[in-house]
Each structure stands twice: as structure tokens, then as C-alpha cells.
């Protein structure tokens, strides 16, 4: 910064101080400095702030950038508070400690020291609206209460310090211009209820009138509606239009526009800037002519300081260049220190505003890219650097040109931008690469000498001198690198670097928040998709005034798959209409029940599809309650169970069929039992007769029968016996099958049973020429059915005799041990093949040998034997080798103790 703008800096300094005084808690400070240059600057600022630009920050920035003069305003903004609180040690001392009025006095004294020619007046107004401190330097201004003066649209109830009201300081006459000056304060309420003041300085239109009168063709006041030039001493000559009449149509055209531009006036092109001016006629515009070659040579020689200041405040840098030459004498009083301090403060203020702007941008930006685009723009505006650019990292960390640019003037830096296009810089390379690697801002004061700057040639060509790169890191990950360029060589500026660092931090917070919010949104969307994919219709039913929850508020789109209605259709139709008529009454009643009890609901019933078909659903619903247990709403789901119901119906049918079949089987079984019982009975009676009469004949006198007759009759007798055994076996089997094999348990000696069986079989063995012997223990006690066990052993022994050829032997062994009784019947017969052993205990099974050799038997003996063993909880097994013989081994638990106890 050069000495050019030191005068305005001083003004700024002053304003900072003013605002600092205003910061005193519970008080609103208004300091009026009767210095028209300051006031005029303030007007410009004020106008900038009330300009049509929606972005107040940008207007402020614009002002800072050009006018270099001033500051201020909402005292309780924390960001600005910081700014004001740290103007320097001296100010701090001045502004802190002691009664308010003392502080005000000290402030004024300081102001006088800084600006000896100024006249200061300051007062504090506390919250009640009463003035509690006043200090005046110099001549007290003549005061005229303009509270009721309708001319000023900003006039509010005088001295009423309430939100929205305007506090107007007592008007005074400017010493420099001799005109009336009015200062206003607007009370602005804040969310936390703290009142604070926005300070306005306002210049009467008279000052413009004066300024215009002496400035030759600098300032015109134009009636915006008519286009009439209200005020300009030189204009009539220029535009050939009389003052106060409808003027040149070109001014008329201006009235509808905003901002600034270039206007052709006769043969001259003049730049203009249009500013609204606040006065009685709100439609007036000030048109500031910003270039006038004639004026440059002749205009400013004897112009009063006030007009220069008007020029500065309103016109900005275009005229300021000329004006600066003339105001150097004013700058002499400023020190380098003040300059530095001001710059620092300016940056802090800028930062605060910038941080706010970035925060706002984060809320309104649709994407990170847009946010970065805005941020680089703000940053350039604040730093006053004309060029900004953004690099974005790819997945490998390589920095890639994003094509996000901020260019102050669209036509500039084309070459450099072209050189940056598509540029890819690995981590650590180039300016952005270094910033990314260090994760800290990188400042290159002189690009021309920086060997690592890749785009050095292009930069030199464009006159780019200084660069600043700022990495943005969010969640520990590099998000972007912002780079800023300016054409004048700027030494490493700590304030700007701090600003950049703070901005980077703010931006990273913003991005982190945004990403978290996006993630939450995405999670929510995922959850919703999941919910809507579920093969069930989820619903939420809201409460009604009568305590029911028939009021459906949500149903997932799955309802359409389930019932053919869209969610909207479903929610708009009465639920009862959808219930199958046969289920309607009880389902409604069941709902009403839970609406009363607030218990969980879980039922299966039928709904009607839109096409009229029946849909079985499971409807499960619970109540969601508040912290007091009061149900807020009901939620649940409808699950299509139609297919399950169909399966169930089929299953029921199958089961019914099976039951019927079982019934039939049982009936058959019963008939069989009956049949067997009948047969056994009906067969026995004739058998008894046959045998009885045979015996009668055979027992008769020997001479009554011939030998041949006697032989025939014994064949009849043998077959009758066989038939009788068969009937007996069948009856036994029938009893076993019917579960009616009842044992008559008793203590018995198995050795004795064995002996008896051997004795009974001895005639048959002798007849066949077999050796039959009994071995084993002399006694083998057990608990069992004597008759059945005898039958068992008889069976086995008679089998053994039947299947053992003459000359062989049969051995019965009864043994006692280990809590069991073992009975073995061993023969030296033909043996049984392994294959046949498997089927041996099957009913009616007869071995091939038995059949081929016509060995008599029913095929029931072994199955009966097994049934008897089973009834005694024993086992029967056999060992057999074909051609060598067979051993049947029966093992029966003795159960001696058991029966002894029972007895």
C-alpha cells in the first residue's frame, strides 16, 4: 500500500474508533466527527451497503477495495467486535476502564490528537434511551431539532431507542461546508435480544449541491423518474438542457439501471456510477462522472477539501487517482505504523465477513464445486487479488485443474488460464502440489524467480507476480487447493496468510458438515429404499380426536404390489372397504380393541385386492409412544400370506386324507384281529372234534382196525396236530400284533425250563438219531413268563432237531451271569446263509432248505420266539456257518431283585 490513501486510512481509523466506543456493553455510542470527508465517505459506504446488490459482503468488499476508507458497524457482531477490540494497545487503554463518560472523553482527546482540525462530539446512549454521557470538542454545534422535519425519511420518534427506530443526533453545521449535517442511529434487534446500533451518517443534499456547484462537471443529481438534471452547474452547457427540466434521454435511460457503466454524453464518453441518495425526493440519483479529460488539467486547483472528499467517497478510485496528488499534505500526518495497523484490522474485518459469507455459501450451494467457486471469488475480492483458481485432487492424490476460476475482468489472464487448463500436478509438485503436501498455505512472493512454479512463463507473460495457495482439508482428506494470484509483487503478508488459514479451516468445517449431512441424507434415502423394497407394506396410522387410529398417514409403495392401490389411493379410501366381507366385523372390532388398550396388534385376515381377488395378510401393528407413554401413532406392516394360506389349506386337505386313511387302516386292523380271533376259535372247535374222535378210534380195541387203517389214521392225526399248532401260532401272532401279549411273570429257573424242553424233545431226537444234551449252570433264576419261555425253548429245540441230519447233535446251554440269563441252542445242522439270517425272524419266512427238504413248519416259530424275547426285554441272536451248524443265543435280564422288591 502506498501513501496515496493515507488520508482515507485516517478516516477509517477514526471510524474504527467510533465503532469501538459503540461497543461498550449496554450502551450505544454515537460519535459524530464533524469532518465532511469522513461523513461523505460514510455516505458512500452506507450507500454501498444499501445498494441493490443482494450480497452486502460484496458491496463492502467493493468499498474496501476502492475507497480504502472505512469500516464499521454492528457493534455486537462478534467478528467485528474482535476487530474493534484490538485496534492497538493505545486505543485499548483509551477505551477501557473508568466511567463511560471518561472513556468518551479520552476517545475524543485521542481523536483530536490524531486529527487536530476536526471537531468531535460523542455521546453514549444507554438502553433506556437516555443520554448518559456527552463529550464535545471544539465549538458546540448550533443545534436545531429536526425530529419533526418530514424532509428526512429516516426520521423516527426522536431519541426513542427501540428496535427499528432511528435515533437522530442533533443536526449540526459542517464547519468545512457550512451546511447542515445529521447523523442517525438505527436500533437493530438481535436474536438474543441485545440491542445494538447501526450508525448512519447522513449528508444533506445541500452538500452535493455545493459540491456540484464548484466541481464543474463532476456530479449531477438527476431525477430518476423524469431524467431531469436537478443539479449540475456545467451540465446545461454540456447537454444543452436547462437545469431543473427534463433532461437528456440518456440520463433518463440511466434511471432504470443500477451500478455503473459508460455513458456517451455528446462527443465524450463518460464513466458513471449511479448512487441513490437519501433525501426528500427518494427518486433522485447522483450520477458521478468518473472521467473528464478537461477536469484533469483544470479542475481541482482551488477546490475545497470537502469536494475532494466527496470525490473520494463517491467516485472511488477513478477520480481518486487525481485527487490523491492533491491530498498528499494530509497524508503526511499519518504514520507507517497506522498504515500497518489499519491493514491488519481491515484483513480481520474481511476475514470475519468472509467466514460468514462462506458459511452462507455453504447453505445455499448445491454442490461442493459451487461452494469452492463462490469461496475463491470471495477470497479474491477480500484479498483484492484479481485471479483465483481451484485444483481438485483425483483418487490418487494428483491435483487436477478443476476449471473453477475467479477472474476480476473476464478478458484478463487468458494465457495463464490456458496454461492451467487440464494441468495435473502430483503431490509436492508445483504451487498447489506443495500446498497439498505441506497441508499449509504457500506464499510465493515472486513467481518469476520460483523455479518450481510450473506455469512460470505464462505468469510472466501476464504480469502475475505473487501467488498464494491454500489447501482445504476436510476429515483429514485433501478436498481442494485454492490458488490466488496478483500482479503486483506482494511480500509475504501474515495477515492474509492467517486469513487464508482461517478460511481454509472454516471451509473444511463447512464441507465436513455438508458431507455429514449428505451422508445422513444418503443413509436416510438408503433406509427409505430398503423400507420400500421390503416385500411388505409398511404403514403409519395417525391418531384421531376420538382416540382411534384409523387415520392412515403413510403407506409404503409396496401396497400397490399387495393390493393394487397406489399409496395415495390407499390412504384416501376407508380401510373397512378393503377388508373381506367375512372378516370385516371382527377385524374392525380387533382394531377398536387395541385402540382402547394400546396393546400390540397381530392378526391374519383377508383383504380385497383392487381387482376383487382375496389377499390374505398378516397385519402386525404397534403403538409408538411419547416419553409419558401416550401413543403418538400406530405403525405396522401388512405381509402377504396368501400363498402360505394356500399351502396350509392343501396341507389340511392332505392331513384329513391321511387321517381318513389311518382310520381305514385301524378298521382293517380291527377286522383282522377279529378275523384271527374268529378263525382261531372256529378252527379249534372242529380240530378238537377231529382229534378227539381219532383218539377214540385209535385208543379202541386193537382188533377193530387193520394195520393199514391204523397207519392212515395216524397220518390224519399228525396233520391234525400240525393244523392245531398252526392255529395256535396264528393266534399268538395276532395277540402280539394287537399288543395283547401279556406275560405272567413269576420266579422261575431257566435251567429247569431248558431241562424240560430237552426231555420233551428227546423222543424226536432219539427217533432221528441225534445226540441231545443239556449243559450249563444247574440253576439260572429269572423273572419271566414260564409258559412263554418254555414255548420259546421248545421252538428252538424242535427247529434244531428238524434241521440237523441224523448223527448230529443238539445242545441246550443255560447260563447265569452278569444279571442276565443266557440260553443257547446249538446244532450241528445245515446252517443258515448270511443272506437268510437277515430275514429269518420275519413272519412266515422259511429258508430255502426248509422248503426244498419239505421240513414241516409254518414260518412263524422264530418270529414268535423273537416276540417272546422282546416281551422279556431280551435279545436273540444267531451264529451260523453253512454246513456246520447254528447257535441261537437268547439273553434275558434276570430282574431278580426287581421282582423280589415288588414281591
Amino acid at each position: 500500500m502506498t501513501r496515496k490513501s493515507l488520508s482515507t486510512l485516517r478516516i477509517a481509523r477514526l471510524m474504527a474508533l467510533i465503532a469501538a466506543i459503540g461497543l461498550v456493553p449496554l450502551a450505544v455510542g454515537i460519535v459524530v466527527i464533524r469532518r465532511s470527508s469522513a461523513e461523505n465517505a460514510r455516505v458512500a459506504l452506507d450507500q454501498a451497503l444499501t445498494s441493490e446488490s443482494r450480497d452486502r459482503g460484496a458491496a463492502l468488499d467493493h468499498y474496501f477495495e476502492r475507497a480504502r476508507s472505512v469500516i464499521l458497524l454492528t457493534a455486537h457482531n462478534p467478528a467485528f467486535a474482535e476487530f474493534y477490540a484490538l485496534p492497538g494497545a493505545r486505543e485499548e487503554r483509551i477505551l477501557s476502564g473508568g466511567p463511560v463518560v471518561k472513556r468518551v472523553e479520552r476517545a475524543l482527546a485521542y481523536l483530536e490528537q490524531l486529527y487536530p482540525e476536526s471537531i468531535g462530539e460523542a455521546c453514549f446512549i444507554d438502553r433506556s434511551g437516555s443520554e448518559n454521557a456527552r463529550a464535545v470538542r471544539g465549538e458546540p454545534a448550533p443545534v436545531e431539532d429536526l425530529a419533526n422535519e418530514p424532509r428526512n425519511p429516516f426520521f423516527g420518534p426522536t431519541f426513542a431507542l427501540r428496535p427499528g427506530a432511528v435515533y437522530q443526533a442533533k443536526p449540526y453545521v459542517s464547519q468545512d461546508t457550512g451546511e447542515w449535517v445529521v447523523s442517525n442511529s438505527t436500533i437493530v434487534p438481535t436474536a438474543d435480544g441485545i440491542k445494538h446500533a447501526t450508525v448512519h451518517f447522513e449528508v444533506t443534499v445541500e452538500s452535493f449541491r455545493r459540491a456540484a456547484a464548484t466541481s464543474r462537471r463532476r456530479v449531477y443529481v438527476v431525477d430518476a423518474k423524469s431524467g431531469a438534471v436537478v443539479l449540475d452547474s456545467n451540465l446545461p452547457q454540456r447537454v444543452k438542457a436547462p437545469l431543473g427540466r427534463p433532461g437528456d434521454r440518456r440520463f433518463s435511460a440511466l434511471a432504470g439501471r443500477t451500478g455503473h457503466g459508460v455513458l456517451s454524453l455528446d462527443d465524450q464518453r463518460i464513466a458513471y456510477r449511479r448512487l441513490p441518495v437519501r433525501q426528500g425526493n427518494a427518486n433522485d440519483w447522483i450520477v458521478v462522472v468518473e472521467s473528464d479529460p478537461v477536469a484533469a488539467t483544470t479542475g481541482f486547483g482551488g477546490t475545497p477539501l470537502a469536494i475532494l472528499a466527496v470525490g473520494l467517497g463517491l467516485i472511488g478510485f477513478g477520480v481518486a487517482r487525481r485527487w490523491v496528488r492533491l491530498s498528499n499534505d494530509l497524508d503526511d500526518r499519518a504514520t507507517a505504523l497506522e498504515l500497518e495497523e489499519f491493514e491488519r484490522l481491515r484483513v480481520k474485518a474481511a476475514l470475519a465477513e468472509l467466514v460468514q459469507q462462506v458459511g452462507r455459501a455453504a447453505e445455499t450451494s448445491r454442490s461442493e464445486r459451487q461452494l469452492l467457486e463462490r469461496t475463491i471469488g470471495y477470497l479474491c475480492l477480500y484479498a483484492g487479488w484479481p485471479l483465483g483458481h481451484v485444483f481438485l485432487p483425483d483418487e490418487n492424490g494428483t491435483l487436477v485443474d478443476s476449471d473453477i476460476w475467479h477472474v476480476e475482468e473476464p478478458a484478463r489472464f487468458r494465457h495463464f488460464r490456458k496454461a492451467s487448463k487440464g494441468l495435473r500436478l502430483p503431490l509436492g509438485e508445483g504451487l498447489p502440489g506443495r500446498a497439498a503436501k505441506d497441508r499449509a498455505p504457500v506464499w510465493v512472493a515472486n513467481l518469476a524467480t520460483d523455479r518450481f512454479f510450473v506455469r512460470r512463463d505464462a505468469a510472466r507473460q501476464e504480469g502475475i507476480a505473487t501467488a498464494l495457495a491454500i489447501p482445504i482439508v476436510a476429515d483429514g482428506e485433501l478436498v481442494a487447493v485454492l490458488e490466488l494470484f496478483t500482479t503486483s509483487p506482494v511480500a509475504r503478508d501474515k495477515a492474509l496468510l492467517d486469513l487464508a488459514g482461517a478460511l481454509a479451516l472454516q471451509l473444511s468445517h463447512v464441507i465436513e458438515r455438508k458431507r455429514a449431512a449428505d451422508a445422513a441424507h444418503e443413509a436416510d434415502a438408503r433406509y427409505r429404499r430398503l423400507v420400500e423394497q421390503l416385500p411388505l407394506a409398511l404403514y403409519v396410522d395417525g391418531p384421531s380426536a376420538d382416540g382411534t387410529f384409523w387415520n392412515g398417514t403413510y403407506v409404503s409403495p409396496q401396497i400397490e404390489v399387495l393390493l393394487g392401490h397406489t399409496s395415495e389411493q390407499w390412504l384416501s379410501m376407508p380401510y373397512s372397504d378393503a377388508i373381506h366381507p367375512e372378516d370385516r366385523n371382527w377385524v374392525i372390532a380387533a382394531h377398536e380393541d387395541v385402540y382402547a388398550t394400546h396393546e400390540d396388534f397381530d392378526h391374519e385376515y383377508r383383504l380385497l385386492h383392487r381387482d376383487g381377488t382375496t389377499v390374505w395378510v398378516r397385519d402386525q401393528m404397534i403403538f409408538v409412544r411419547d416419553e409419558h407413554g401416550k401413543p403418538l401413532f400406530a405403525q405396522g406392516y401388512l405381509l402377504d400370506i396368501t400363498r402360505r394360506k394356500e399351502y396350509e389349506a392343501q396341507l389340511d386337505e392332505l392331513l384329513a386324507g391321511e387321517r381318513e386313511q389311518n382310520e381305514q387302516l385301524r378298521e382293517l386292523d380291527r377286522l383282522k384281529d377279529e378275523f384271527v380271533a374268529l378263525v382261531s376259535h372256529e378252527l379249534r372247535t372242529p380240530l378238537t372234534s377231529i382229534r378227539g374222535y381219532l383218539e377214540l378210534v385209535l385208543d379202541g380195541a386193537p382188533e377193530e382196525l387193520t394195520d393199514e387203517q391204523r397207519q392212515f389214521l395216524s397220518v390224519v392225526e399228525r396233520n391234525a396236530d400240525r393244523l392245531q399248532r398252526l392255529v395256535g401260532d396264528l393266534l399268538f401272532v395276532a395277540q402280539v400284533d394287537a399288543g395283547r401279549l401279556a406275560l405272567e411273570l413269576d420266579h422261575l429257573d431257566a435251567a429247569e425250563v431248558g431241562a424240560e424242553a430237552v426231555e420233551a424233545a428227546r423222543p424226536a431226537a432219539d427217533q432221528k438219531g441225534l445226540e441231545l444234551r443239556l449243559v450249563g449252570d444247574p440253576q439260572a433264576e429269572l423273572v419271566g413268563d414260564r409258559a412263554r419261555l418254555a414255548q420259546l425253548v421248545d421252538n428252538l429245540v424242535s427247529n434244531a432237531i428238524k434241521f440237523t441230519p441224523a448223527g448230529g447233535h443238539v445242545e441246550v446251554a443255560v447260563r447265569n451271569g452278569g444279571g442276565n440269563v443266557t440260553i443257547e441252542v446249538t446244532d450241528s445242522g445245515m446252517g443258515i446263509s448270511a443272506e437268510e439270517q437277515q430275514r429269518l425272524f420275519q413272519r412266515f419266512y422259511r429258508t430255502a432248505a426248509a422248503t426244498s427238504q419239505a421240513i414241516p413248519g409254518t414260518g412263524l416259530g422264530l418270529s414268535i420266539s423273537k416276540a417272546i424275547v422282546d416281551a422279556h426285554e431280551g435279545t436273540i441272536e444267531l451264529e451260523s456257518a453253512e454246513g456246520h451248524g447254528t447257535t441261537f443265543r437268547i439273553t434275558i435280564p434276570a430282574h431278580i431283585n426287581q421282582i423280589a422288591e415288588a414281591a
Binding site: 379249534r684 378238537t688 372234534s689 378227539g692 377214540l696 392245531q724
Partner: protein
Amino acid sequence: MSKVLVAEDDADIRLLVSLRLQNAGYEVVQAEDGQQALELVASEHPELCVLDVSMPKVDGFEVTRRIRANKETERLPVILLTARAQTRDISEGLAAGATDYVPKPFKAEDLVARVNAEFEGRQ
């Protein structure tokens, strides 16, 4: 000569049993059913009864019970012929007051032996 009543609805069996008992030296009175058996017990005063269990009109159990119920015949020995050699039938028969039982099918000589044993035991 001791008089024995044989009550059996099957004529073949009745004749067979009767012949056997006659061969063994008994005088036999035959009844075709339970009702007739009771009448003959009253009129012929047999010293022993052989009763088939399953008979028309009045079955063997019932005949036994009535014999026992009558003071004059309460000590008359009764041997039951039972087709169902089952515990339940036997126990019912014994409960009704039968002296002994012979399960069908029986060998005639076994029955004669039981009858002999009954008379021998009394002597």
C-alpha cells in the same frame, strides 16, 4: 356210578366228551345250552358239571354263578371248557366259582384225568 353233566352246544364235542367219560365209567347227562344245563342240575342232581363257556342262552360263567348261588348246589364241582386260553377268561371263570378249567383244544384224556382227579380228591 357217578353222574356227570356235560353242557356243550357243539354236538360233536358233547358226544366225544360224553363217550370218553362213559368209557371212563361215568354216567353222563347231556345239555345243549346253559338253560338246559341248569334244569338238569336241578332235576338230575349230577355230582360234577363239565360246562362249555360259550353257550347259547346262558353262558358257562353264568351257569356256574347260579350253581354257586343255589344252596343245594353250591359245593357242586364245575370244570369249564374255555376256547380262549386267556388269563382274563380263566380268572372270570374262577371268580364265578369254577373248580377247574380245561382250555380248548383239549385232549379228551386230559379232561377225563381232571374229572377223575376231582372225584379222587373228594374221596
